[in-house]
Each structure stands twice: as C-alpha cells, then as structure tokens.
Amino acid sequence: MNQIHKGKLIFGAILLFLTLCFIIAALGYEEPRARLVPVLVGIATIIFGIFSIIHAIRPIDFITRFDMSIIDLGKQVNSTEEPEDRLDIKLLGSIAWLAGLFVVSFFLGFHIGIVAFMLAFLKIRGKVGWVKSIISAVLVWGIIYFMFEKAMGFSLFKGLFFGEILPLL
C-alpha cells in the first residue's frame, strides 16, 4: 500500500469526521427546518464517504463498472493520478513558503512581505543571482503597489508591526 493510497484513506477519514461534526452541530439547532437539509445532506455524504473508503480499500464491483460506463470503455481517467506515488517532501516546503509569505505580510505588511518573499524565494529556491532577484522583487512590488494602491485606491495590509488593526475573527 503506497503512500498515496494511505493518504487517500486518512484524508477520507478526516472528511468523514468533518461531515460528522456538521451533522452533530446541526442536530443541536432548535429550528427543525434549519436542521433538515444539513442533516440529510450530511447523512448522504457520510454514506458516500464510507463507501468511498471501502472502495479504496477493496474495490466494489458495481462502482467500478459504473465508473467505467461513464467514461469510454478502455480509457482511463488519469488527471487525478500522479505518476509519482508518494508525497514529496517538497510539498511541505512549498506550503511553508506560502505560509511564510503570509506570516511576514501579517506582521510587517504586504510591502515588506512581497519584497522579502520574492527575494528569498528567488535566491533560495530558484538559486537566481542577486541582481535578477532584487530587480524582480522590486518590479513585482512596484506593479502591485502602483496598480492596487495608487491606481485603484486600495490600501494593502500594513502589518501588525505598523499598527494595522485586525478585523474581528
């Protein structure tokens, strides 16, 4: 059982759990009409989910036949299947980069965040030279700044450090 396969089951289970949370939350609402659709949809979703997990572990004949009948006989739908059957460690890196952009922008504002992110990404991940990196970073920031702030009048997030007030969460 390769990593992707394991991942499928775990992810499916997480989704199932999420659905269950919805159903339980819905049952707690006083208004019966407000409960109706979420509970019905939730139950149907759980059923689909359970069968989906079962099908992943041990393919259900009927489902396989049905899937095959929708798509042309013989051809396989490959768009969701990756040639590599494992989760790359690069994945964590990519997510970390995006999270990093967010964190820097959150505290220091988009202006600093954008420039720092572009610079860091180009230098570290891209191994691009200093000159190109800096020029690219400033260029991208410049376009964003002039377009969004000057031309369109939005004000980009200034960052907690510079006194931006957070909207309520």
Partner: protein, 498 residues
C-alpha cells in the same frame, strides 16, 4: 425605438466616448485578469469618476468595463489556473491543461472567440426579449429557482466522471461548507464556531482562489519545470482556437443559451451559469472523459456562457429595476446617481441609455476578443517562464487579490487553507470541481427550497403545479437517464466497431 438607437450611435462619433470605451475596455481586462477583483469592484471604483460626464457617455464607459472583464478573467484562468473572476473558474478546468500541453495560444484563441460570440448572442437575446421583460421576470420565483439549482447540483454526479463516490462525497462536503454562516431564512447562525469572521460564511472569491490557484501553485512548485512542458512548441496557433469554436457550434449554442437564461434569473449568478454550461457540454459530448484535460469544448462552454450571461443580466436590470447580478446592482446605483429613475419605466424613458449600454458591451467585448487574438502569442509566453519566477509572482497576486476584496487579512488565511485543502483533494482523488459546485449551489438550493415552502404554507405541491418547475424537473429526470441510454448505445457501437 429606432431613434433611441440612432441617438446612441451618434455618441460613438464623439471623441470622448471612443476614448472612454477603450479605457473601459482596458480597465475591465485588468480587473478581470487580476484574481480577486472583477467587475463589481471596477465599477464601484470608477463610478465616482463618471459623475461629471454626460450620462450617455458615462454608461458607454461603464458597460465597456463590464464587457471585457470576462475575457480578462479567462486569461489568468488559462495561463495560471487562477480564475480572474469567480465565473471564470470553469475555464481553468480545460484552459489550464491546454496551456500545460503547450497550447496556450490556442486556448486563448478559443476563449477570445467564445467570449465575443457569446456576448453577441446574449445581447441579441436581450434585445429580442425586451418587449416581454415583465413576463420573464414574473416567471422565476423560488420554486423555479430551486429546480434550477437542483439541476445544477445533479451535475455534480456527472462532473465526477469516473470517480463517482469520491465526487458525490466531495459534493456533499461542499454543500455542507456552503451552509456555514447566518441564514436569513431561519434567522440563525450555523456552523460558524462562534466566529464573527464566518458570520457570512466562507467567502467565495478567496475560497476559489485557494482551491484553484493556490492548490495548483503548490502542485506546480512541487513538480517544477515550466507550466508548459519543457519541449512544448510555442503554444499552438491562435487561429486553431478560433476554428475550434466553430467546430463546436452546438456546444457554443447550448452554453450561450444556458448563460443567457441563468443571467436573466436574478440571484443565481455567473458562476453557476459557468459550471452548468460546462457540465452540460461534458454531458452531451461524445468523449466526456477528455474534459478536464484540455478539451476545447470545455473552454467554449465556459466562456460563451460567461459572456452571454451579461446580456441576460441586463434584462431584468433595465427592464424592471431588479439587478440581474452584482455588477448590475452597481449599475443601478449608477443610474440613480445620474438622476435616472430605475424601474420598469427606465426602458420607456431612457431607451437611448439602454442602447448605450448594449453598444458599450458589444464594442468592448469585440475589442477584448481582438486584443486576445492579437496578443495571444505574447500572453502565452507566460507559460514558458521558469517556475521559480511564476510561483512567487502568482502567489503574491493571489494573496493580494484575496485580501483586497474586503481588505480583510483573514481572507488570505482562508485562501491559503483552501489551497492546501484543494491540493490534498486533488492528490487523493477527490474532484475539486464537485466540491466547488456543491459549495456554490448548496445553500442557494436550501434557501430556495424553504422559501418555496414558506410561500405555499408548507405545501410541497408548489414544486409541481408550476409550468417552469415541471419543465426543469423533466430535464433533471432526462439528464439522469441519459447516461444509461448513451452507455447502452456506446456498448452496442463498440461491439459493432470491434
């Protein structure tokens, strides 16, 4: 009528009108292409600038902006898998795979042509239906609305193509996600974990940016390389793209009709039209499994419906004072600010302004399409830029786009979380498209359902004793049976082939 039309035409001879149409066209393209922005914001920002203008000129300008947003959005959808506006989301599904195959120019050609022709179709229908606008507005109430949205939801099963259980599962999760937030129908808050941020539910644009753009960004940065594979040719030929639209005439027509019809119905929105047209096209095609992998018909369906809906949305707006879409709501505000009374009399008393809008939309669409066709070569070059430049640039654009909509930094978090979530959905074989359809349509269906029951004092007969609901119900049944019939036919055909 003719005088009003001629009156509008004479404005086209004025220098300021022509310049503003061009300017509006460019503004629309930019706002459309930048993820998270779009027509509503563009109109809201530009509106104050129109105050000093002659109302006719102002509305040429405003409609010119509206006209090019759709195509602008398709550019980022195709090149970066980032829907420039929510209704461009379905364009990502086949546009981006085409770009990955190195056919970006062709894809842009398809989009430009489909956009332009779709808009023309929508406007023609609009003009034809103006005399009966009241009847049409009266036709669609909550029961019809419910049936329509239900129809849209059924398509989830078909969007799953070959992955039925996962698709239905994803769709169900999407529906549940859509119900987060305050429900005006019941007056209660649901599933929002006590959070004020989630009071209005999960905001659609940051969510879509995450699911489509950021998830693909993560995928792409893991894989490396260029968007278009290393050895791909310079993007195919634009003219091939144009030809494709004509090759898929039926698909175009069907999608444009869907676009106009859904555009006419206030409250449904372009995103819905997009997906329904897409799925309908997939359903009626001979080779549905190629959808999502770069089938030109997918782009035709998505973009022609996207543009046709603008014409449709204008109908209730100018004909009855009911905004057909969010952009139209801003337009109505614009009418009032220019001292024009809105409502059923608008058409009667200001038909020239209506024609100004029509002409503005038309010309801007044609300009946008021409721009697309001419510039496709240069635009397509984007797909050949190294991943290390594209990834940070697109990431920044997505983050800023997600933020700028409500100037709320938590929307960026939402986009990021949606991006990671969408990536795992993709990786583990859960179709994102099903999730998205469920998300967009779920709570709409529930609302319409309960509204219908409230109207009928709780009687379920309300769904069965109205003409249109029965027609749509019939369509639903037909659509559900169709795969069995075609599967049957296919089975027999392949036997006779082999």
């Amino acid at each position: 009528m003719i005088e009003a039309f001629l009156q509008a035409l004479t404005y086209l001879l004025r220098g300021d009108t022509i310049i503003l149409i061009f300017l509006g066209n460019i503004i629309g393209l930019i706002f459309g292409a930048l993820p998270g922005l779009g027509g509503v914001i563009a109109l809201a920002i530009i509106l104050p600038f129109t105050f000093g203008m002659d109302p006719m000129v102002a509305f040429f300008f405003l409609s010119a902006i509206m006209g090019s947003v759709a195509f602008g959005g398709s550019i980022s959808a195709i090149l970066l898998n980032t829907p420039g506006t929510a209704p461009n989301a379905a364009t990502c599904l086949d546009g981006y795979p085409m770009a990955c195959k190195g056919e970006a120019r062709k894809a842009l050609g398809i989009s430009a042509t489909a956009c332009g022709l779709g808009a023309i179709f929508g406007l023609i229908v609009l003009v034809l239906l103006i005399p009966v606008v009241r009847r049409i507005v009266m036709l669609f109430g909550p029961p019809e609305f419910f049936m329509l949205v239900l129809f849209g939801l059924i398509t989830v099963a078909f969007a799953a193509k070959g992955n039925l259980l996962n698709g239905l599962f994803a769709g169900g999760v999407g529906i549940l996600l859509s119900m987060i937030g305050y429900s005006p129908v019941f007056g209660i808050l649901r599933f929002n974990l006590g959070s004020e941020y989630l009071w209005d539910g999960i905001e659609m644009i940051p969510f879509l940016i995450g699911i489509f753009a950021l998830s693909e960004l993560i995928n792409y940065s893991v894989k490396g390389g260029k968007i278009a594979g290393e050895e791909q040719a310079a993007g195919g030929k634009t003219i091939d793209g144009v030809k494709e639209v004509f090759r898929h005439k039926a698909c175009f027509l069907q999608s444009s009709i869907i676009g106009v019809v859904i555009g006419i119905i206030p409250g449904v929105g372009g995103t819905v039209a997009n997906f329904i047209a897409y799925i309908a096209a997939m359903h009626t095609a001979d080779n549905p499994e190629t959808f999502g992998q770069g089938n030109p018909a997918g782009i035709v369906a998505s973009e022609s419906s996207n543009d046709a809906k603008d014409g449709g949305a204008l109908l209730p707006t100018v004909g009855f004072g009911i905004p057909g879409s969010a952009e139209m709501a801003v337009l109505l505000g614009g009418f009032i600010l220019h001292g024009l009374e809105v409502g059923p009399m608008l058409i009667r008393e200001h038909l020239d302004i209506v024609f100004a809008l029509l002409l503005g939309l038309l010309i801007s669409n044609i300009l946008a399409s021409s721009f697309g066709l001419l510039m496709s070569k240069h635009l397509a070059k984007l797909t050949h830029i190294n991943v290390y430049y594209i990834v940070p640039m697109v990431a920044v654009l997505c983050f800023v786009g997600a933020y700028v909509l409500r100037e709320n930094i938590w929307d960026v978090v939402l986009a990021l979380v949606a991006g990671v979530f969408g990536y795992f959905m993709m990786k583990f074989g859960f179709p994102n498209i099903c999730l998205v359809i469920g998300f967009i349509l779920g709570v709409l269906a529930e609302k319409a359902f309960h509204q219908s029951l409230m109207m009928s004092y709780g009687s379920y007969a309300v769904f069965f004793n109205r003409t249109i609901t029965l027609i749509i119900l019939g369509l639903i049944i037909l659509v559900l049976i169709l795969p069995f019939i075609t599967g049957f036919r296919k089975g027999r055909n392949s036997e006779s082939d082999s």
